[in-house]
């Protein structure tokens, strides 16, 4: 073996790049956190100084990233098995589990303290609760114990707009909880659609996904039921302080499309799905990404137009 080959094998294991550590923070999830927290902050009735607003979003994003690193630390064993996750930094051998744990803990503490100092203690405490909920309640406790794991995990992902709102106002009201409901109720149909066409992944990792424990027929029913409840909440939000005509128009179109997709999924059987390689499920999954982005985008639009007398009712 040459010096170079020895080094090549050692460096892969011992020297991660900056990007590998960044990947521990789940950047794609972080982008959702940033966007929804920003909308929560902007939709709040009290404005904040741009520097404080920027700091608030940054620390909420870092807190979200920290919980992602802690999730990867705990789930390294199942990440190694699933095709979707086996290229993550720990299973790929780029970062040690201990490093992910240290980074996650350090960034959690830093983000909570800095958010409390930059905005208010209530916002900091709520961010701490969100990290605890995602890491301990979801990742450590319920993810491997119940097929409702996605529902519970969805709650953690739904908190950022509430934190954004609290960061701006220092108090709570009904509107941020409607934004919470949007993400919370959107998460199960989004992930169950994914589980329908990525089925072998969850089977192999022994994660009690609804498709595995209750069967695929039941999962299709669950998707429909959650989509109906989601549509009710999404449309109701239009008539609150964060809604308005733009939001209502967007919600009407998207919920009609989403409901149509959910009904199609519910009516399909496995043979047809195999034949067209889960075309409807894949389309529904892609639509779900647009669904959440455009709902929050519409809330943001209403908030931005309000100072000009155009947003809201």
């Amino acid at each position: 073996m040459t010096d170079a080959s020895i080094n090549a094998s050692m460096t892969r294991e011992e020297d991660a790049s900056f990007g590998d550590y960044f990947a521990l923070l789940k950047p794609r999830v972080m982008s959702l956190v940033v966007f929804t927290a920003f909308v929560g902050l902007m939709a709040a009735p009290m404005g904040v100084h741009p520097v404080v607003g920027f700091a608030a979003i940054l620390f909420i994003a870092i807190g979200g990233g920290a919980s992602g690193a802690l999730n990867m630390w705990w789930d390294a064993d199942i990440d190694q098995v699933m095709k979707r996750t086996k290229s993550r930094p720990i299973p790929a051998g780029k970062v040690d589990k201990g490093e992910a744990l240290s980074l996650g803990l350090a960034l959690s503490g830093m983000s909570v303290i800095m958010l409390a100092l930059a905005t208010n203690v209530f916002a900091g405490a709520f961010l701490a609760f969100t990290i605890f909920f995602y890491v301990v309640v979801y990742t450590m406790w319920l993810k491997r114990a119940t097929p409702q794991n996605i529902v519970i995990g969805g709650a953690a992902g739904a908190f950022p707009p509430v934190i954004g709102w609290i960061a701006a106002t220092g108090s709570m009201s009904i509107e941020p909880w409607l934004m919470f409901a949007l993400t919370f109720l959107w998460t199960p149909p989004h992930f169950w659609a994914l589980a329908l066409f990525m089925r072998n992944d969850y089977d192999m990792a022994d994660v009690p996904m609804l498709t595995v424990t209750h069967g695929r027929r039941s999962t299709r029913k669950h998707i429909l039921v959650y989509t109906v409840i989601l549509a009710i909440f999404a449309l109701a939000t239009a008539f609150t302080g964060v809604g308005g005509p733009i939001y209502l128009a967007v919600a009407l179109v998207l919920n009609a499309l989403f409901l149509k997709g959910a009904v199609q999924i519910w009516r399909r059987d496995e043979d047809i799905c195999e034949m067209d390689n889960f075309k409807v499920e894949r389309t529904f999954f892609k639509l779900s990404l647009l669904y959440l982005f455009l709902h929050f985008g519409a809330i943001l639009m209403e908030a931005l137009l309000k100072p000009y007398g155009l947003g809201g009712w």
Partner: protein, 53 residues
């Protein structure tokens, strides 16, 4: 086979160090900006310490 002067490990380490350095510098600037915003805001009062009137 001799080791090259500039091995891939060196460039990777440099990239990591530059990244951490930039993040720390950004953090310092952010804390400074936050401090300026807080102390120049309308409702700001200096905290009272023991021995001060």
């Amino acid at each position: 086979m001799s080791l090259r002067k500039e091995h891939e490990i060196h460039s990777r380490r440099r990239g990591r160090n530059v990244g951490v350095g930039l993040l720390l510098a950004g953090f310092v600037v952010l804390v400074l900006a936050l401090t300026m915003v807080k102390v120049t805001s309308a409702g700001f009062t200096f905290p009272e310490f023991e021995g001060t009137e």
